[in-house]
């Protein structure tokens, strides 16, 4: 919770600083450096806890599960609680499974879904091109502790998702917050699973550069 509060505060701070803050950050640590740092990690696994605040519901929703990714374009999110559910993205195909039902759709045919998926997949794999194509980006902080704000370029999509804020340390994504235009939001706290040997080493070399 401590971390969450910090994340929320840093998010609020970033929002307050607005463009000025972004410009200042760009001078020190920019998207190119950040994505290069993130791209150095080719694959990873993590657990997550997601907290969602939705105005129509009488209480916040908590979800937990696992995340994994593998460059260049595979990303899997698996909910373990309260219900098992799996979303696997490979290239342009998204497969959603729940119980004995499973649906596969083309990601680019559902732009609303691609906003969320590209925000996290693009960040995890350090895909600068994809991020810049879909979002106005703003980076703040340093390699040690960075924050990336993503605002959809397409007005239609901004009506679905107001902002996505991702923050982390070095090559590891630690938190992702999605804010809807109506104020509903979800905050996902990410805890890397005891890293494979390549992880920290790669992150270290990225930082050294």
């Amino acid at each position: 919770m401590n971390m969450l509060r910090r994340a929320l505060l840093s998010g609020a701070a970033a929002a307050l600083m607005g463009l000025g803050g972004t410009a200042w950050a760009a001078a020190a640590f920019d998207l190119a450096q950040l994505t290069q740092l993130l791209a150095s990690k080719r694959s990873g696994e993590a657990t997550f806890v997601e907290k969602r605040e939705v105005s129509v519901l009488d209480r916040t929703l908590m979800t937990s599960g696992r995340l994994s990714f593998e460059a260049p374009d595979t990303f899997v999110r698996e909910n373990l609680k309260p219900q098992r559910e799996r979303v696997a993205v490979v290239g342009n195909m998204v497969t959603m499974s729940r119980g004995d039902r499973s649906r596969t759709v083309a990601l680019d045919s559902v732009p609303e879904a691609s906003v969320i998926i590209e925000a996290i997949r693009g960040t995890l794999t350090g895909n600068r091109e994809s991020l810049q194509k879909l979002f106005e980006t703003g980076v703040s902080g340093s390699a040690e502790r960075w924050s990336l704000e993503l605002v959809p370029r397409d007005a239609r999509l901004r009506a679905q998702v107001a902002t996505v804020r991702v923050s982390g340390r070095q090559a590891e994504v630690r938190e992702m917050q999605v804010v809807m235009p109506d104020g509903d939001r979800s905050t996902m706290t990410i805890e890397p699973v005891a890293a494979k040997s390549a992880g920290p080493a790669a992150a270290g070399s990225g930082a050294a550069r």
């Binding site: 969602r52 939705v54 309260p82 219900q83 596969t104 680019d108 045919s109 809807m180 509903d184």
Partner: protein
């Protein structure tokens, strides 16, 4: 004599009247059988009026992405208002509001998740959990406004079932191509695929309403079955006109050289014109429509019909003895040459009459056209020409030289007998050795170029409208049973989808479940009091308090008395069109039919596996369109071969009866058979894929070639020589007429051979060399009486 003229004029007028009012078509369905098997019946329905035949694939290129998407949105709204299209899909979902409202209102009858378990306290709890798990994400935006009416997420379940796996890429609110700078749209015309005028009207509407966007620098590209058919028709029309002009010009020049008289020229055209008009009129009266290919073929009838006129004009030319009366020439021609021409006509008719009985309307049309056209041309020559030109063509032109040259060549030709024999023999050996060249397919009748097909394939993959390669057809006596069958088949297909054998399939029961299923779902809905109790239980500690769910209880209550949906009750709703694409209403003796189209997985469709999976679903048919079409065409070709064979046999019998001599029959048949063999071998060697129209071409070669052979037979046996004319000049006239007739045919068919329309190209490729060879071979092979010298 004058009576003949009056009859002819009246007949011509009537034929012209019918011709003008005829309905001209160009789709390939005329070349499909009229008495199909059950699988073929499904296929034919689909080709003629199925949704696939009504699809128009549209691309907008050029300009900026923003300009393209703005144009797509605005233009699609204009098109929807035009009333010519059942639907215009471009990724703009705002048009589905009415459909969405209808589906939402009937969600408890339509959602596949509704059953008794779902409305138990446990079922409700897990359904609500599942629904709220989507909230707080972009997917939740859709359900948030209706959450309290639909907490179990039936809307989501319906959407899931209807979401296509291969949806187009969406950008800027519209569909765009994945690998090109292009916005794409998918239109469905109201007009049937076989209604070419309707298709053309819709296409014109597309082009004219696009003009403002074209002015902005955007480019419209259009494809689809209807587009192809309309383009083919236009192309065939254009080519036929072009060929007719070029052919006429060439023939006019030839005639001018031959007769040196415009009047002779005008007369020479009469049998041809009469033949073509009569052919069109008779086809139109007996089939109700005239196919473009038949029409294209009509121009080729010039070949044989112009011969009649040439034979008459040259052969009836009265020798220049001042004493002879007017009309001597024509009387002499009728006595001496008409029997030969008549025999030639009979042999030609034998060849074509076989086609009349074909089970394929297109082929039967060709037969009827040729028979009617040839008879009309011959009758015109026999009865009208003697009135208009009692003594043949007056002028001489270069005919004397032509006659002399042909005479010398004909005298030399028999020396070539052995080399030509060897050539024919070599051709026979080659044909036995090479693989059969008879492997043309239905697509080879279509004039659509490779570029257009490539563009079509690109647009199809852009919009995710994969070519409907395989269909599953189900039929039953009434709507309720056929929908129940579709549900049965669907359950089995679901298993294949889960196993990854299939990617997906379209079925009408997602939009219109069978009455039995709807009744079961309705029966699963508890009454208000009962539901209130269960909701209270389910909501304990849940994300939505029970008292907020009153709208849900009210909606379920209303659904309990909703009437069962049927195709009739959908009339006027946005669902009707979508259902009609997959559910074909029965009429009279025709059963109700459901067509499930399949989306293949990566490995394609395994038809055997499908058949196994569907075993036990009564009457389920797996229809593979490509295979069926291939089978159809082979049957078509086989049937036509048989008919041609029978026709050839009839020709032989006829000639035998007339000539009353095995030796003469052999003499007449040899050059024709050899000509056919040599052309066939040359085409096979060249690697050509021969089809139905090549076969028709060979029939024409036999028909025309038999005339040549008969004339040579007549010449070399001195049949009908009279004492009025010196033998020499008369023979020279006959030879000149043969050479001239052959020249006109070779020229008009050589023009066809360079046409871009495969059907015409095929005929020209066979007939031009075939007739030339027939003449040369006749000169070489046909012998005089046994004692020898010619």
């Amino acid at each position: 004599m004058a009576r003949a003229l009056v009859v002819w004029l009246l007949a011509l007028l009537a034929a012209a009247f019918v011709t003008v009012r005829s309905n001209y078509v160009a789709d390939l369905s005329a070349f499909l059988p009229s008495a199909p098997s059950a699988e073929q019946a499904v296929l034919l329905d689909q080709l003629r009026s199925g949704v696939a035949a009504r699809l128009v694939l549209i691309g907008i290129e050029g300009g900026t992405p923003a300009a393209r998407s703005a144009a797509s949105l605005e233009w699609a709204r204009t098109l929807r208002k035009s009333g010519l299209f059942e639907s215009i899909n471009n990724g703009d979902n705002s048009q589905y509001e009415a459909l969405g409202a209808f589906l939402f209102e009937h969600r408890y009858l339509l959602s596949p998740a509704v059953d008794a378990q779902r409305f138990s306290a446990d079922g409700l709890r897990s359904a609500i959990d599942e629904t709220v798990s989507l909230l707080g994400s972009p997917a939740g935006a859709m359900i948030k406004p209706v959450l309290l009416r639909d907490p179990t997420g039936e809307t989501v379940r319906m959407a899931e079932a209807m979401l296509p796996a291969r949806a187009p890429r969406t950008e800027g609110g519209v569909w765009v191509a994945r690998n090109a700078d292009r916005a794409v749209l998918l239109a469905t015309t109201r007009a049937d695929g076989s209604d070419l005028d309707g298709q053309q009207h819709a296409l014109e509407q597309l082009r004219s309403t696009f003009a403002p966007y074209a002015a902005q620098g955007l480019k419209l590209i259009v494809s689809g079955a209807g587009t192809f058919a309309v383009a083919s028709r236009a192309q065939i029309k254009h080519e036929v006109e072009r060929l007719a002009i070029a052919g006429s010009a060439a023939i006019v020049l030839l005639m001018w050289l031959a007769f040196g008289s415009l009047r002779a020229l005008a007369i020479a055209v009469l049998p041809v014109g009469t033949g073509v008009l009569a052919g069109i009129a008779v086809v139109s009266l007996s089939f109700g429509q005239v196919h473009g290919i038949t029409l294209g073929f009509g121009t080729t009838l010039i070949g044989e019909a112009v011969d009649y006129a040439i034979y008459y004009l040259i052969q009836a030319h009265a020798p220049s003895t001042a004493s002879s009366q007017r009309g001597t020439g024509s009387r002499r021609w009728i006595a001496r040459n008409w029997p030969t021409v008549r025999l030639g006509l009979w042999t030609s008719l034998c060849g074509f009459v076989a086609l009349v009985f074909s089970g394929f309307p297109g082929l039967a049309q060709l037969g009827v056209f040729s028979v009617a056209g040839l008879i009309a041309a011959a009758l015109t020559t026999r009865y009208v020409l003697p009135v208009l030109a009692p003594d043949g063509a007056p002028g001489l032109g270069l005919r004397r030289q032509l006659g002399a040259f042909t005479g010398r060549a004909a005298a030399l030709a028999p020396r070539l007998r052995w080399p030509l024999w060897l050539l024919a023999l070599a051709a026979l050996v080659l044909l036995l050795w090479l693989p059969s060249p008879w492997r043309g397919d239905l697509a080879s009748l279509s004039p659509i170029g490779a570029d257009a097909l490539k563009l079509d394939a690109q647009l199809r993959s852009d919009v995710g409208a994969t070519e409907a390669g395989t269909l599953i057809a189900l039929s039953a006596a009434d709507e309720a049973s056929v929908l129940a069958l579709a549900e049965q088949a669907g359950a089995r297909l679901d298993r294949l989808v889960a196993e990854g054998v299939l990617e997906g399939y379209d079925t009408p029961v997602r939009l219109l479940p069978s009455p039995a299923t709807q009744a079961t779902r309705r029966a699963a809905l508890p009454d208000a009091a009962e539901l209130r109790g269960r909701v209270a239980q389910a909501a304990v500690d849940g994300p939505i308090k029970a008292e907020r769910l009153a709208p849900f209880i009210a909606d379920v209550q209303a659904a309990r008395s909703q009437p069962t949906l049927t195709r009739a009750s959908l009339q006027g709703t946005p669902l009707a069109t979508a259902v009609d694409a997959m559910l074909v209403a029965g009429r009279d003796s025709k059963p109700w039919r459901v067509l499930l189209s399949l989306q293949a997985g990566e490995r394609g469709i395994d038809a055997e596996r499908l058949r196994v999976a569907l075993a036990g679903v009564p009457g389920a048919q797996v229809v593979q369109i490509g295979t069926e079409l291939g089978a159809l065409y082979s049957r078509y070709l086989r049937e036509a071969m048989w008919q041609a064979g029978l026709g050839a046999l009839a020709v032989c019998i006829l000639l035998g009866v007339y000539l009353r001599s095995w030796r003469r029959l052999l003499g007449v048949a040899q050059p024709i058979a050899a000509a056919v063999l040599i052309v066939l071998a040359a085409l096979a060697l060249h690697g050509a894929a021969l089809g139905i129209l090549h076969l028709v071409g060979f029939l024409l070669v036999v028909a025309i070639g038999s005339n040549y052979a008969l004339f040579f037979d007549q010449l070399r046996h001195g049949v009908g020589r009279d004492s009025v004319a010196g033998d020499g000049s008369s023979d020279s006239d006959t030879l000149a007429s043969l050479a001239l007739a052959n020249l006109t045919i070779v020229i008009s068919f050589a023009l066809l051979a360079i046409s871009s329309i495969p059907a015409l190209y095929a005929i020209g490729q066979v007939v031009a060399p075939g007739t030339l060879l027939s003449l040369v071979l006749s000169a070489a092979f046909v012998r005089g009486p046994a004692r020898g010298a010619v």
